[in-house]
Amino acid sequence: MEKATRQRPRMYGLSTCGWCRKARIWLEERFGEGGFDLIYVDLLSAEEKAKVMEELRKFTPSPAFPMVFADDECIIGYRDDEYRRVFEK
């Protein structure tokens, strides 16, 4: 399969969340373990968390997880149809 995105895919999630687990598994199947960046926001220090959330608020006023980044696109919530669209072209 062709490389679908210029940049390394990146996912922001919560380590406790079922939808984030599904998204992680989808990305692992597509890119392999370690083939994408995975940030569990709930496991960050308070300082890092505030920084990341500020960053994510640039894309949406109320960030929800998982948030998957494919180049300039941001997919909020588990959406395998959207993952297929951006990662399997």
Binding site: L14, S15, T16, C17, G18, W19, C20, R21, V41, D42, A46, M53, P61, S62, P63, A64, F65, G77, Y78, R79
Partner: protein, 169 residues
């Protein structure tokens, strides 16, 4: 995240029994449901309260009261989407396979009105409302535990019915 399997199983059985007794249903996909309950227990250990596993908690209980599982948004989400935000709880229709499971759009407001900001009228009939399931009771104090959905006392909100709201004798 690692929760003792015995503790997890016990929490699952308890939650399932409470759900069914109150007319609610856990997601029949057991591995999904166990994964979420593991998340709730992890949050319980981490923050001191069983916050929603699919939402980012602040660590401040008063800020997160509305998202302690079962959250204030479960019932409207069950009505509109057939599942709660995490799909831990599902509606009878979804359970029976008459409605597909779909992902839920977040309805939690970004800024929340705090109950304390809202003054209560001085006279009238004081009522307590369970913010989780809507159970109402007229008594001096909110019950320790909601008799319907088992939510704790801090999930109740007070409101006052004007004296003329009910038909007279």
């Amino acid at each position: 995240m690692s929760i003792d399997p015995k503790r997890l199983r016990k929490a699952y059985e308890q939650l399932k029994a409470d759900a069914e007794a109150g007319g609610y249903h856990l997601n029949p996909d057991e591995s999904w449901t166990l994964g979420l309950i593991e998340g709730i227990l992890t949050n319980e250990d981490r923050y001191g309260y069983g916050s929603c596993p699919c939402r980012l908690a602040t660590g401040e209980k008063m800020e997160d009261l509305d998202i302690i599982c079962p959250c204030d948004y479960r019932d409207p989400d069950l009505n509109d989407w057939g599942a709660c935000y995490c799909a831990l709880y599902v509606s009878s229709e979804v359970l029976a396979g008459k409605r597909p499971l779909q992902s839920v759009v977040e309805r939690r407001p970004t800024t929340r009105e705090k109950a304390a900001d809202r003054p209560l009228p001085a006279s009238g009939i004081r009522l307590w409302r369970c913010k989780v399931c809507g159970y109402l009771c007229a008594r001096e104090h909110a019950p320790d535990v909601c008799p319907i959905c088992k939510a704790k006392q801090d999930r109740f909100e007070a409101f006052v019915l004007p004296p003329d709201a009910l038909p007279g004798p």
